[in-house]
């Protein structure tokens, strides 16, 4: 069983910074489970959401090595229960004219959307928690998936509901 940690890494929005981060993981033998990159509300800063495999290295060492990169501005470690994680899945599924209802039924249950319909296939999309996407993918599989693409998760700290303490641990 792998154990994963989600790291939200704020970096300077400059050429080559993603290569520095990815290169660091490769060089130190740390494994990346998934990765998502996008600019933030501040155009000088990008947010990299990394799901790191903490079997390959202790998360503390991964964070400290990341923090040594000059272009890394801030690192936050998100524990799953303290964050909201979302991912997007697109899949093309075998569905001839008579079998479309099976796909539509699953889409209805999961609130997935049909993006395109062809003579033999349907293309569907689902956004949600990684676990929900896993379930959806599992159930689509017997129908025959011809192509599938998942984005890797993005995450933000859970908002304050006025109950417990801090939702996010700053580690740098």
């Amino acid at each position: 069983m792998h154990s994963y940690h989600t790291l939200v890494v704020l970096v300077e929005n400059k050429p080559g910074v993603l290569a520095r981060v990815a290169g660091l993981f490769a060089r130190r033998g740390f494994n990346i489970h998934s990765l998502a990159v996008a600019p933030t509300e501040d155009e000088r800063i990008s947010r990299i959401t990394i799901v790191a495999d903490t079997e390959s290295a202790p998360v503390e060492q991964i964070v400290k090595q990341l923090d040594k990169l000059i272009n890394v501005v801030r690192i936050d470690e998100l524990a799953p229960r303290d964050s909201v994680e979302q991912e997007l899945l697109m899949a093309s599924v075998q569905a001839s004219v008579g079998e479309r209802s099976k796909v539509l039924e699953l889409c209805q249950i999961f609130s997935a959307k049909v993006l395109d319909t062809g003579t033999q296939e349907m293309m569907v999309r689902l956004a949600g928690s990684p676990a929900k996407l896993d379930d959806f993918e599992q159930l689509l599989r017997p129908l025959g998936i011809s192509a599938i693409q998942r984005t890797g998760r993005v995450a933000l700290p859970r908002l304050d509901h006025g109950s417990s303490g801090a939702s996010l641990r700053s580690v740098s």
Binding site: P15, A19, G23, D67, I70
Partner: protein, 591 residues
Amino acid sequence: MGINGGQALIRALEREGVEVLFGLPGGAILPVYDPLIDSPIRHVLVRHEQGAGHMAEGFAHATGRVGVAMVTSGPAATNIVTPLCDAYMDSVPMVCITGQVPSTAIGTDAFQECDTVGITRSVTKHNELVTRAEDIPMAIRQAFYIATTGRPGPVLVDIPKDIVDPANPRSAMDWYWPTDAEVEASLPGYKPSTQGDPVRIREAAELINRSVKPVIYAGGGILKARAAEALRALAELCDLPVVTTLMARGAFPDDHPLCLGMPGMHGNYTAITAMQEADLLIALGSRFDDRVTGRLDGFAPSAKIIHVDIDPAELGKVRRPDVAIVGDCRSVIEDLLSALQALGGSAAQPDRSAWKQQLSGWREKFPLTYENLEAGEGHVKPQFVLERLRSLTPSDTIVASGVGQHQMWTSQYWKFNHPYTWVNSGGLGTMGFSIPAAIGAKVGRPDRMVWAIDGDGCFQMTAQELVTASAERIPIKVAILNNAYLGMVRQWQEMFYDERYSEVYLSPDLPDYVKWAEAMGCAAMRVESTDEVDAAIEKANGINDRPVVIEFRTDAREKVFPMVPAGKGNSEVMVDPSQQAELARIRALGL
């Protein structure tokens, strides 16, 4: 004021206080070499770009200032990758400027193009491709700031030709010089912390005051932090024995009664065993390198650990510390001294006489030793050469070494009593380091005698830089310990591969080292017997108008002892064959 990027680069280097550049020009960097003619900066023209990098390192080791190398694009950049990696491993402050093909040609597989920033990313503390002429002054300021602060290291600045070429309008810019505040603001993710946490420092002081078997494990960080005096004050205040790692030789005087010498794979028995038996290791600027710890699960099993390092990632990377302190060694040691004094200073130290007695017993029983020969008998012993060199040269002589047996013997037999007198490649283990590093050290410290101790294998890797030394009148001295073998590899094959010698023989007289050295403008001598050693060294010491090379024909069977075999724990250290019986007896008694 209107200026071009090439002029701005040279002016920026002048403003950073650079007095010497080690380099070699070529196509892409040509426009920067033109304004260099009008600059007071000295340029040392190397014969291979690897030499430029190691010279910059040697300069930095000897002076504590940034070493600067400048080379062209493509093959020149790839040739300097080894020194960058070497400097990265040993935390050497270095700035490397590389030429790059013009911006418009980047990515087209242009002549002499390579992805320098991509290739050097994992062997530099930071690197940057500058894309606009007006960014050059800031890029240079950032490079020097990053190279010298926090954990020092190499920084590379890659400069496309078009932004420095006066014939190209893209090189036109207005000169400006960023302030310290602007430099810091331009690096929002870089904030090295130098002050140790006072709570942790007090905890460390309390641990020291409770320890009955302490050892200070001093690493290269002591030298980087200019903390040798503070270290000595700490050792003397609390009467703490000190081991100095390969990177810290000279950080604490070898002739000091508290000095136990070098630990590790080829450390001396007392230093290795003291660490094994200690109840407290005070690690100062050291990183629990595998060559020091041996097999990790058997390393210093009963020791609590105080670990001080400026790089937070070193704390807990290898061994979990009981007290971890992020900070500059000098500042932390000084604060630790105050904390110890507040807790009673030397009067508060427990009785450690049993520990002291144990240490002196080991020292007496297992000193460094080798089989000494009568004059004229057999080949010269390499250890003897080093003992004589040490005796016949000034106490503050700077010694640089290559990598292998000769390096270990130099570290063992050279008695270091001054910081910044030992220049070697510890982390990367770069054969061929010594000659260019010695040249760089001599350029930085022309007032000092500088000896390079080299092996015959190493010498053949970078000897051409003696041409540089001759041409530039940099009178270093070189001792080649010629045993006709890749000696350390031979030692491993003898000990661990049933004496099956595979591709380690080099020949004693091919090349002819004396003729080769003379051809490169050096004075040269060959020493074949013990009774010629002193006269040759004395003659070499008297030659100051050019480099001098002495080839010592040494005993190829000689091995480096003590030795902790790779993969074994430090408690399984092997001592000199003449001491093995006594060690076996003591081990049998469980002492």
